[in-house]
């Protein structure tokens, strides 16, 4: 009787194997919490700081929780970033390229998966190469080209390459679609063909609806990557039309330009409130679509 109890206790703490015993579980939780703190800590700190007014900022006893919720920093950031207009423009150069890039890459991904035509291997090789070739190599001639087309410093400079499948990380999305369409049973296409559908009808009626997860994944990653991109957009969009990210990058000069709006000097709290405002849109998308980031990757069969 006593022996069984001992075993029970042992099983409770150690488990039948390491990862289902109490100690194993505890160490998994501890590790996850401690390391997770690395990501949460700066965000929480930024958020706490952004709510502090000047008094709280200089008060050494106020570390984490401000004495009162002060939204003045956000007000200033709102004006400095010109948040409304800039947000609309940022969405224009984020959402539109993301949608267009998703459509174009799905077309070529579909063709590569369904039709075994000559030249397919070459196309594949080129796609992989475009992924490995950093944009820095060909962005100067692109800059000249856009200049000649007169679309420099307009949203077209970002949208046009995306429309033609030459946008940000296009190669990855083509591969996602290729993997996904390849897994669709051929019998479905054949039956559609027997029913008299042509290739485009088959694509629209059968290919696309079945590829929902791939489309969602490609769109989400496109959206996030375009949102976070600053290197190329700072070159092509330039100084007149700023995205939110670029305004944050040049926050000090933006703040000085907008001076007079606040009598306050630029401080950390204002800076952090601006940062929070800039990650807010993607954060919202993330909260709503969180599970698709994981399931999408899983279902699109990148791993296959």
């Amino acid at each position: 009787m006593k022996k069984i109890n001992k075993m029970k206790i042992r099983h409770f703490f150690m488990g039948k194997s390491f990862n289902d015993g109490f100690i194993g579980k505890l160490s998994i939780y501890l590790l996850l919490i401690i390391i997770g703190f690395v990501y949460i800590y700066p965000l929480l700190k930024m958020f706490a700081y952004s709510l502090k007014d000047l008094e709280d900022l200089v008060n050494p006893t106020v570390q984490w929780i401000p004495t009162k919720v002060y939204l003045g920093n956000y007000k200033i950031s709102f004006i400095v970033l010109n948040y409304g207009m800039t947000l609309i423009f940022s969405l224009l150069v984020t959402l539109v390229p993301a949608v267009l890039q998703t459509i174009t890459t799905s077309l070529i991904g579909y063709a590569l998966a369904k039709f075994k035509v000559r030249g397919r291997t070459i196309i594949f090789a080129i796609i992989l190469l475009t992924y490995l070739l950093p944009v820095q190599v060909y962005m100067i001639p692109r800059y000249v080209l856009f200049d000649q087309l007169g679309i420099l410093e307009t949203a077209w400079a970002i949208i046009l390459p995306a429309l033609f499948g030459q946008g940000l990380s296009s190669a990855i999305f083509i591969l996602i679609f290729y993997q996904f369409f390849r897994m669709q049973p051929k019998a479905l296409d054949e039956s559609a063909e027997i029913d008299g559908a042509n290739a485009f009808q088959t694509f629209i009626k059968i290919g696309v609806p079945l590829a929902g997860p791939a489309y969602l994944t490609a769109f989400l990653f496109s959206f996030v990557w375009y949102w976070n991109e600053t290197y190329v957009s700072s070159l092509f969009i330039g100084s007149d039309l700023y995205t939110l990210q670029l305004k944050l990058f040049n926050f000090t000069s933006q703040f000085n330009m907008a001076q007079g709006i606040s009598e306050q000097a630029l401080n950390e709290a204002i800076r952090y409130s601006a940062t929070i405002l800039i990650i807010l849109p993607v954060l919202l998308v993330y909260v709503v679509m969180q599970k698709w980031f994981v399931e999408g990757i899983d279902r699109t069969g990148i791993t296959g």
Binding site: M46, L107, T130, P134, G165, T275, Q290
Partner: protein, 293 residues
């Protein structure tokens, strides 16, 4: 009959190319022609004037300038720093991502909550935001400096090595912000492993440790290469990367311009290709080793 088969084949080819046409056209206009133009620029003196651009072929002048001018020296130094840093960062990110993926794949409560936290770096990965995080001091482990760790590094290695290595330690936490997508990739790979394999191993008397090394790690190995390539490209094109800043800054600099910028862009690509090749060979050697066992 034969005629019909042929026809079907031609039709399929036509359909396939029409699906690919938008991309192919885009590739020619926005990528291929620019690649060759850039190669030509790198061998030329490019002057912007009121009437347009004047391109004069000068051979390898720009490349020679990289190795002889102060600006070129700065560029080369940031590239070599980058190359050394990446040799350390890639293994750190890969191992970290595998560990987190394995932990997140356990049967734990609030798994959704933990995943939500660990995927934050996937969405908060822009240069300006990350540099805000760095500014704020949330990026360093204070103990590293307090304990004189940096001094130790400076004393042990020669100057060229010490700077990048010290950078890695002072940026240890920032590095973790670059592992979001890699964690996703490894979780996806882990979910593909059949649970029955683990059960079978357990019945045969394998412990958790053995299962991890004999089942989990081998089934992740193909994903390691994907993750490594992604990490290298991601770090190489990250907007705060000093080497690529040089490329952009020189575009409009008085003494250098488009030609010089194109030349250093190509040099950068060559270094990147070498780094990729090195990791590829290491990886190949590693998996061959496993095969022999």
């Amino acid at each position: 009959m034969k005629n019909k088969v042929m026809k079907r084949k031609t039709r399929e080819t036509l359909i396939a190319w029409s699906f690919m046409s938008v991309w192919v056209l885009g590739f020619l206009i926005f990528t291929m022609i620019p690649i060759f133009t850039s190669l030509y620029y790198s061998l030329s003196d490019v002057v912007l004037s009121g009437e347009g651009i004047i391109v004069t072929f000068t051979g390898f002048d720009n490349y020679a300038q990289v190795f002889s001018s102060a600006e070129g020296f700065n560029f080369l130094r940031s590239v070599s720093d980058f190359a050394i840093e990446i040799l350390f960062k890639v293994p750190i990110i890969t191992v970290f991502a595998i560990i987190i993926a394995v932990l997140l794949n356990q049967k734990i409560k609030a798994r959704g909550f933990f995943r939500a936290i660990y995927f934050l770096p996937v969405i908060i990965a822009s240069g300006p935001v990350i540099s805000q995080l760095i500014n704020q001091g949330a990026a360093t482990i204070p103990q590293i400096e307090e304990l004189g760790f940096i001094n130790l590094i400076n004393e042990t290695f020669n100057e060229g090595l010490a700077r990048p290595i010290a950078n890695i330690f002072s940026e240890l936490i920032v590095i973790l912000w670059f592992s979001g997508v890699q964690i996703l990739l490894f979780i996806a790979a882990l979910q593909k492993i059949d649970k029955a394999t683990y059960e079978a191993a357990m019945i045969d008397g394998a412990g958790v440790w053995e299962s991890f090394w004999k089942i989990t790690i081998p089934s992740l190995s193909s994903m390691v290469l994907v993750s490594v390539v992604f990490t290298i490209i991601n770090l190489a094109t990250f907007s705060e990367n000093e080497a690529i800043q040089h490329i952009k800054n020189n575009m409009f600099a008085l003494e250098t311009g488009f030609g010089f910028s194109s030349a250093i862009a190509w040099l950068y690509f060559i270094v990147l290709a070498i780094i990729l090749a090195v990791f590829f060979l290491i990886f190949k050697g590693f998996s061959k080793d496993r095969g022999r066992k």
